[in-house]
C-alpha cells in the first residue's frame, strides 16, 4: 500500500541475510531436499545408496563449515520469512547445537556407508535411505532451531522417520519392539507439547532467547518450576532416563543393526540436548532446585544400565543397556549444572554418539560372522579376525570409560565437578558404573572373541564397507582420547554459552531486547 506509514523494520528484516548465515538452515533443508529426491527415486534401488552417501557427506561438510563459522563469529541466527524474532521462527546455531549436529552427521554418514552392505534389497525398497535422510533432517533441525515449538516439530519429524526405520523388515519381533517404542515416544513428545502449550500461555512467546530473557526478568512471579519439571519428564523419557527408560531395551535390539546403531547414536542424545537447552539455558534456577532429583535419576539410570548390561545374553540388548548407563552420566553432569558438569555432559554425549554407533556396528559384524548374537553360543571371533577383534576391544574400553579413549575425559570432568560440591556419592556411582560396564563388555570380549568357537565359524568375508565406518569411528574415539585439548576447549566454550546465553540472545536480538 502506498500510504502505509508504518515502520516495518520493527517486525521485518529489511536487509538481505549474509550469505554465510544461510549455513544455519542448510543442514535440515539439505536433508529434506535429498530425502525428497530419494523418495522420488525409490524404485532405483542402486542409485539410492550412491546418492545418499554423498548427500550425507555434504551434510558433514555443511555442519563443519557451520562449526567454523560459529567458532569465528559466535552464535548465528537466521529468521524465517524475514519476520524478526520473536514474531518469526528463528534458527540459532550456537556452539553446543553445532557440535551435536556435526557429530550426528558424522554418525549418519558412517551408518549410510555401513548400510551399503548391511541393508539388503527389501529394506531398501521399503525406503531405508529416504527415512535416514528425513531422520537427519529432524535431528539437524532439532539441534539448530531457536524456537521451542519448532523444536517440537523437528522431534516429530525424526520420530516419524524413526518409526519407518524401526519397522523395516516387519518381523514379529520388530513389530513388538516398534509398538513399545512408538507409543512411549509419542507420549513423551505429547508431554513436550503440553509443556510448550503452558510455556506459550505463560510467556506469550516461543523464541528461546526471548524466553530466556523473560524468565530471568519475571522469575519470582511465574510458575517456572512446573515448566522445568515437565520438560525434565518429557525429555528424560526421550533420553531413556530411569524410571522412564523401558522403551529402549524393549526395542533397540529388534531393528536392522544399522538402524539400531543410528538410533543409539542419535535419538537419546537429542533428548539430552533438549534437556541441556531447556534446563541449563532457559530455566537454570529451576534446574538448581531440581538438581537432587536429576542426580538421583542419573544415578539410578547409570546403575540400572550397568546391571542390565550384566544380566543380558543378547549382545544387542547388552549394548542397549550400555546406552542407558551413559545417559545416566550425562544426567549427572546436568544435575551439577557447573561448567565442568555441563561440559562433561556435552562431551559424554558426543563420545556416546560415536562409540555407541560403532559398538552396534561391531555387534552387527559379530552377528554376521558368527550367525548369532547370543553370548551362550558365540565364540572364536578372535581366531576369525584379529583386526576386527582389536577394533572391538578399543570400542569396549572406550564405552567403559577407560583411558586413553574418549569416554575417560567426560567422566573425569563430571567426577571433578561433583567433587567440587562434595557430591561424593555421585562420583562413586560414576566409577561403580564404569567398573560394572567394563565387566559386562569385558565379558562380551572374553566369551564372544576369546573363547574357542563351539562349532567352527563359517568363512564369511567381511566387506570393507562394514569395516571402514567402524574403523573411522574408532579412530575418532582414539584421537579425541589422546588429544582432547582442542575439543575440550570448544566444549567448555559451548557449556559456557549454554550457562550464560548473552551471546545467544545478542545473536537473536542484535538491537537488544
Amino acid at each position: 500500500m502506498a500510504e502505509s506509514p508504518a515502520d516495518l523494520s520493527a517486525a521485518l528484516l529489511m536487509t538481505p541475510v549474509p550469505t554465510a548465515d544461510w549455513l544455519v538452515v542448510l543442514p535440515p533443508a539439505w536433508c529434506i531436499l535429498a530425502g525428497a529426491v530419494l523418495l522420488m527415486l525409490r524404485k532405483s534401488l542402486h542409485l539410492q545408496a550412491w546418492l545418499a552417501v554423498p548427500a550425507l557427506a555434504i551434510l558433514v561438510v555443511l555442519d563443519g563449515l557451520l562449526l567454523r563459522h560459529v567458532l569465528a563469529n559466535g552464535p548465528v541466527t537466521m529468521v524465517m520469512g524475514r519476520w524478526l524474532p520473536p514474531f518469526g521462527i528463528a534458527f540459532t546455531a550456537d556452539l553446543a547445537g553445532v557440535l551435536f549436529a556435526l557429530a550426528g552427521a558424522v554418525v549418519a554418514l558412517a551408518g549410510a556407508v555401513y548400510a551399503l552392505a548391511d541393508i539388503d534389497g527389501s529394506a531398501r525398497r521399503y525406503g531405508f535411505y529416504p527415512f535416514l535422510l528425513l531422520l537427519m533432517a529432524g535431528v539437524s533441525g532439532a539441534f539448530l532451531t531457536g524456537d521451542v515449538f519448532n523444536l517440537y516439530v523437528w522431534f516429530e519429524v525424526l520420530l516419524i522417520a524413526s518409526f519407518g526405520l524401526i519397522t523395516l523388515g516387519s518381523e514379529p519381533r520388530q513389530i513388538d519392539g516398534a509398538i513399545k517404542y512408538a507409543f512411549l515416544n509419542l507420549i513423551a513428545t505429547t508431554l513436550f507439547l503440553v509443556t510448550t502449550g503452558y510455556l506459550y500461555g505463560i510467556f506469550g512467546t516461543l523464541n528461546m532467547a526471548d524466553i530466556a530473557v523473560k524468565a530471568a526478568a519475571g522469575r519470582d512471579s511465574l510458575p517456572l518450576m512446573t515448566l522445568a519439571t515437565l520438560y525434565l519428564l518429557a525429555f528424560g523419557m526421550k533420553a531413556a532416563a530411569f524410571p522412564v527408560n523401558f522403551w529402549l531395551p524393549a526395542s533397540y535390539h529388534t531393528p536392522r543393526i544399522v538402524v539400531a546403531a543410528l538410533f543409539a547414536g542419535l535419538l537419546t542424545k537429542v533428548g539430552i540436548y533438549a534437556l541441556l537447552r531447556t534446563l541449563i539455558m532457559l530455566f537454570p534456577v529451576e534446574r538448581e532446585e531440581l538438581s537432587f532429583v536429576i542426580a538421583l535419576a542419573g544415578t539410578a539410570t547409570m546403575i540400572v544400565g550397568a546391571l542390565g548390561a550384566l544380566g543380558n545374553s543378547d549382545i544387542r540388548r547388552v549394548l542397549g543397556y550400555v546406552v542407558i548407563s551413559g545417559i545416566g552420566v550425562m544426567l549427572a553432569g546436568l544435575s551439577l549444572g557447573s561448567p565442568g558438569g555441563v561440559g562433561g555432559a556435552i562431551f559424554y554425549a558426543l563420545h556416546s554418539m560415536v562409540v555407541m554407533t560403532a559398538l552396534y556396528m561391531a555387534a552387527g559384524l559379530v552377528g554376521r560372522l558368527a550367525g548369532s548374537f547370543d553370548l551362550n553360543r558365540l565364540g572364536g571371533l578372535y581366531g576369525r579376525s584379529a583386526l576386527f577383534s582389536a577394533l572391538s576391544l578399543v570400542l569396549f574400553f572406550a564405552a567403559s570409560g577407560l583411558p586413553p579413549f574418549s569416554g575417560f575425559w567426560p567422566k573425569v570432568m563430571v567426577a571433578k565437578a561433583a567433587l567440587d560440591i562434595g557430591a561424593w556419592w555421585l562420583v562413586a556411582a560414576v566409577f561403580l558404573t564404569g567398573f560394572l560396564v567394563t565387566i559386562a563388555l569385558g565379558r562380551v570380549f572374553a566369551l564372544a572373541y576369546w573363547r574357542p568357537a563351539p562349532e567352527p565359524l563359517p568363512a564369511t568375508a567381511i566387506p570393507a564397507s562394514l569395516l571402514l565406518p567402524l574403523a573411522v569411528l574408532m579412530a575418532l574415539t582414539v584421537a579425541f582420547g589422546l588429544f582432547p585439548e582442542a575439543l575440550l576447549s570448544t566444549i567448555q566454550a559451548a557449556a559456557q554459552g549454554l550457562s550464560d546465553p548473552s551471546a545467544y540472545i545478542g545473536s537473536v536480538f542484535p538491537g537488544g531486547t
Binding site: I175, D176, F183, S313
Partner: protein, 126 residues
C-alpha cells in the same frame, strides 16, 4: 473468564486419556493417545487466552489491528499439532493392526516377542 471451564475440560480429557492408556489392550491405549492429543490441542487453545468473535484481520489502511482480536498464533500451533497427531494416529493404527495379525494378540502383557520371558542369562564361565 472462559478459560476456567476450558481448563476443566482439558483436565477431563487428560484423565480419560490416562485411564485409557493404563489399559492392557492396545486399541484402548491408542484411543487414549488420541484423546491426549486432542486434550493438548485444547490446552494450547486455552493458553492463547480466549477472546470471542473478533477475527484477527487488520482493516484496510491500517498496519496494526484496531481492536483486541482473537489470538491467531495458537490456531497455527494447533493446526500443526492436529496434522502431526492425526498422521501418528494413522501410523499407530496400522501398526497395532499389524501387531494383532503377527503376534496374535492386542494384549500388551502377552506381547513378549522382543523380550521373551525365559531369556537365558549369560554364561558364568567358559
Amino acid at each position: 473468564m472462559m478459560e476456567f471451564p476450558f481448563a476443566l475440560l482439558v483436565g477431563l480429557f487428560f484423565a480419560a486419556a490416562v485411564y485409557l492408556m493404563l489399559s492392557k489392550f492396545l486399541v484402548r491405549v491408542l484411543l487414549g493417545v488420541v484423546l491426549l492429543g486432542n486434550g493438548v490441542n485444547l490446552l494450547i487453545f486455552t493458553n492463547g487466552r480466549i477472546l470471542r468473535e473478533v477475527p484477527p484481520i487488520i482493516p484496510h489502511g491500517h498496519d496494526v489491528p484496531v481492536a483486541l482480536t482473537a489470538n491467531p498464533l495458537p490456531q497455527a500451533l494447533i493446526l500443526t499439532a492436529i496434522v502431526i497427531s492425526f498422521s501418528f494416529f494413522a501410523f499407530l493404527l496400522v501398526l497395532v493392526y499389524r501387531a494383532y495379525q503377527d503376534l496374535g494378540t492386542d494384549n500388551g502383557n502377552e506381547m513378549r516377542a522382543s523380550e521373551p520371558e525365559n531369556d537365558p542369562l549369560p554364561p558364568t564361565g567358559y
